[in-house]
Symmetry: D2
Subunit: 90 residues, 4 copies
Amino acid sequence: MDERIRKKTDSRLARIEGQVKGIRKMVEVDRYCIDILTQISAVISALKGVEEIVMEHHLHTCVAHAMQKEDPEEKQLKIIEVMDVFKRFS
Amino acid sequence: MDERIRKKTDSRLARIEGQVKGIRKMVEVDRYCIDILTQISAVISALKGVEEIVMEHHLHTCVAHAMQKEDPEEKQLKIIEVMDVFKRFS
Amino acid sequence: MDERIRKKTDSRLARIEGQVKGIRKMVEVDRYCIDILTQISAVISALKGVEEIVMEHHLHTCVAHAMQKEDPEEKQLKIIEVMDVFKRFS
Amino acid sequence: MDERIRKKTDSRLARIEGQVKGIRKMVEVDRYCIDILTQISAVISALKGVEEIVMEHHLHTCVAHAMQKEDPEEKQLKIIEVMDVFKRFS
């Protein structure tokens, strides 16, 4: 990853780490379940945002690169990898 | 799409169409809500299966093709399209 | 279900059935994969809309009713059923 | 929450916090994008597991309790809250 994307990704993950700590605190002080669920949903959305950044970067670099080569096995492998992420997502 | 994938996709969609008809019947004869919800989930899973077939085909053909060309705008466009599907999925 | 909810549900399902037919047509005439994927996503969203209507109705009727009874097994069963739908959804 | 559920929830969240830290490390040392995406998916699954625990607890306690009361506004509010979580999930 280039420096800009790495920093962006890390700052989002740092924020997510803080949010998870916050949810643990909410559980500890017995906050209302619905508020806890709302926070968990927020963290899941934030993680999906990170996934999108990493996936977009991956398509622009590794996948684009493999597609330009002549090696059909390499191409096939990259598509299988992307489809695996896609299936886990859906 | 080649003939084999088109047929596979159409036969799955034909089955999904039948399942939706079946759910309408369930609603009409007042079947238990949970049974209706189970059937709706089954149809959503089936549609995701079709999405996976179409997406995999798209990566193997249009995306792979665009990546081999020199046109950076064309590449960028294909990645944006794939990411849009990805975001709607997640 | 009362008549109003049944009609609402059926008219949505009828529309979904039409959309699935439309996707089959798109596949038949070899429309662009991304357009097909966009339509499939639209149908999935529409089905989730129906799920929400049915689930809300179920909570207001069967679940609310079971909770008012004294039978702990009946309550437990209703919660398990709702959680099963919830898990399939997530 | 009773002590058993609180402990279970906290130990899962502690593990998730560790996993997020691990992903930050993976980004820092420039691990392969697909491996990072696999880990993010694992954290999302783990968070959904916590959501299920909290939701099930909520149905057994707050929702069950509200349903036994005569207050229709209270019942309506609980159902709206559950449906909101449900919609965010789907």
